[in-house]
């Protein structure tokens, strides 16, 4: 399976990575080599194998639905790059081509 420059553009958009052209070119080459190596996965006969859904054997981990004190707005906002004391502040979401 070969990778195209369009694939790299598409995946970078999905991953929300604003890569430079030079980075995309470098990644195209690197990812192609890695995917070529990973291609050996396709040679394994998996017709009789189920997917691993979890490593252990846990079933329905439940706890009582008890209210505990929340972290609180002050602590929750302390690490925010921009906040106004009760909200995280971000730019307009409507202006985006990607989200439109």
């Amino acid at each position: 399976m070969t990778l195209s420059r369009d694939d790299v553009d598409h995946v970078a958009t999905l991953a929300r990575l604003g890569l430079s052209d030079a980075e995309k070119t470098r990644l195209l080459g690197e990812l192609e080599k890695i995917l070529e190596h990973i291609a050996r996965l396709q040679q394994v006969d998996t017709s009789m194998l189920a997917e691993t859904a979890q490593v252990g054997d846990l079933i329905n981990v439940m706890r009582d639905d008890e209210t505990v004190p929340p972290i609180g707005a002050v602590a929750a906002l302390r690490n925010a790059p921009i906040a106004d004391g009760s909200h995280f502040i971000v730019g307009a979401i409507q202006s985006s081509e990607l989200d439109g």
Binding site: L31, V44, T52, L58, G91
Partner: protein, 487 residues
């Protein structure tokens, strides 16, 4: 301190030969000397350490009989473990300045036992790497040769124990990130059974693989730290609810009569001759102690690397979606939200993180999901079945921890050759089984590690085999110059 174990320091504290204050002063002085060359630390937590040393002194004075063996003893934490109010960056620019609002479970359990945390250790960015060269804040030197890597991703945690600054530290292991640096730095490093140690407060890389575990100078110390951090935790729903067995209970039972398997694929062509020779000598030691050795096969070892490099990037691409410049970490401000995301993540993530996020996003994307992610999860089942099958034949596996000794910085600039570092450690993460690395010799002055792997929840058996080997040899007593020319 520089040569001491937790067990020795705990005895010294109780016999009045030292105090938590004196141990802390020693550790900080050693850190200052060693770190000028090693760069094992990103943050030194003097104030926290002093508070904890003072509290430990009170506990040792008032309740010496019930105090934990860890009480008053300095330690360090990989910078992916959250501590309330202490900068935690995962060695990434995107988290510079981030001070978590809470402390993770494994760390809190150590703090409750009286541990004295002297700092946060350097690592590969978001724990992605095998050399600690992917840290956004510069690489870590190997205490045995500072021009070489200490392994990774928990390189700082391995190096600081090897150098003799602290007797133990915590790291995290997603594909070998505790065991491989332990091997390359000449210390003991343990990855517990998946689900035995809570990941609450661990910055997530790949959630079906990540485990927290200790670095120590002896296997006994390793079991001791594990006995404190392990066990059920309601804050991590993937943490197993079964109570912990005492990991020290069968430590001294020896290996006489045990059946030990040598996976032939783990000593393949990529294994350096010196590593092979050291590990084969270790096999002979174990045989001399009464174990029987059996060649076994894990046929999917080769393809396991491919499974890992689909699943780990896929999970990381999802886990790292949270770094969007909104709630924490760095932001590159732009008028539109999407531009802010794009520029923040481009500026904040380093090359290896971007590579894995791209690879994982691709593997999960429409049209490729079945061929990559779903196929990898099926082959992962096969990897697990092969472990189950060999553990029908043998009690534990013994093998190299790394195909190579510590390599020079900058010598593996091709991503694939770096990924090969983990070829004999990552299958244990895929299968969720416990593994340890214990020092087993040197090649040209560089340490070699012996890996012991056991079935899930047989963590005690890993310690039992490793301890028997360690006690029959002197390798664990060797120290680099940082530990011998000090104080």
């Amino acid at each position: 301190m520089t040569a001491s174990t937790i067990t020795e320091l705990a005895a010294a504290l109780r016999e009045g030969r030292t105090t938590p204050d004196a141990l802390l002063a020693d550790a900080l002085a050693h850190l200052e000397r060693a770190d000028a060359e090693l760069h094992a630390y990103l943050t030194v937590t003097r104030d926290l350490a002093q508070q904890q040393a003072d509290a430990a002194a009170r506990i040792l004075r008032d309740q010496p009989a019930t105090a934990s063996p860890l009480c008053g003893i300095p330690m360090a934490l990989k910078d992916v473990l959250c501590v309330d109010g202490i900068e935690t960056t995962a060695s990434s620019k995107i988290l510079r300045g981030f001070k978590p609002p809470y402390t993770g479970t494994a760390v809190q359990r150590l703090f409750d036992a009286g541990a004295v945390c002297i700092g946060k250790t350097n690592c590969d960015e978001f724990a992605m790497g095998s050399s600690t060269e992917n840290s956004a804040f510069g690489p870590v030197g190997n205490p045995w040769d500072v021009e070489r890597v200490p392994g990774g991703s928990s390189g700082g945690s391995a190096a600081t124990v090897a150098a003799g600054t602290v007797p133990y530290s915590l790291g995290s292991d997603t594909g070998g990130s505790i065991r491989q640096p332990a091997a390359l730095s000449g210390v003991v490093g343990f990855k517990p059974t998946y689900g035995r140690v809570s990941r609450y407060g661990l910055i997530a890389f790949a959630s079906s693989l990540d485990q927290i575990g200790p670095f120590t100078r002896t296997v006994e110390d390793c079991a001791l730290v594990y006995s404190v951090i392990g066990g059920p935790d309601a804050r991590d729903s993937t943490c197993d609810g079964r109570p912990m067995d005492d990991p020290l209970a069968e430590l001294r039972d020896g290996v006489a009569g045990m059946r030990l398997g040598i996976p032939r694929e783990y000593l393949g062509e990529g294994t350096e001759p010196g590593v092979r020779a050291a590990v084969e000598q270790a096999f002979a030691v174990l045989e001399g102690l009464g174990a029987t050795l059996h060649e076994v096969s894990l046929p999917s070892t080769d393809v396991a690397l491919s499974v890992y490099y689909v699943i780990a990037p896929a999970e990381c691409s999802s886990n790292l979606a949270r770094y969007d410049g909104v709630r924490f970490g760095q932001r590159v401000d732009r008028p539109s939200l999407t531009d802010m995301y794009l520029q923040t993540r481009d500026a904040g993530f380093g090359p290896e993180v971007k590579r894995r996020v791209m690879l994982g996003t691709y593997a999960l994307s429409s049209g490729y999901y079945d061929a990559y992610y779903r196929q990898a999860q099926k082959v992962r089942t096969l990897v697990g079945q092969e472990f189950d099958a060999v553990f029908q034949q043998v009690d534990a596996l013994v093998c190299p921890t790394s195909p190579s000794v510590a390599f020079p910085m900058g010598s593996r600039d091709d991503p694939l050759s770096m990924y090969m570092c983990d070829v004999v450690t990552l299958p244990a993460n895929l299968a969720g089984v416990p593994g340890i690395s214990v020092p087993c010799g040197f090649v040209d002055g560089l340490p070699v590690g012996l890996q012991v792997i056991a079935p899930r929840f047989q963590d005690s058996r890993v310690f039992r085999v490793a301890h028997a080997y360690e006690q029959a040899t002197e390798w664990h007593t060797a120290r680099p110059r940082f530990a011998t020319d000090a104080a």
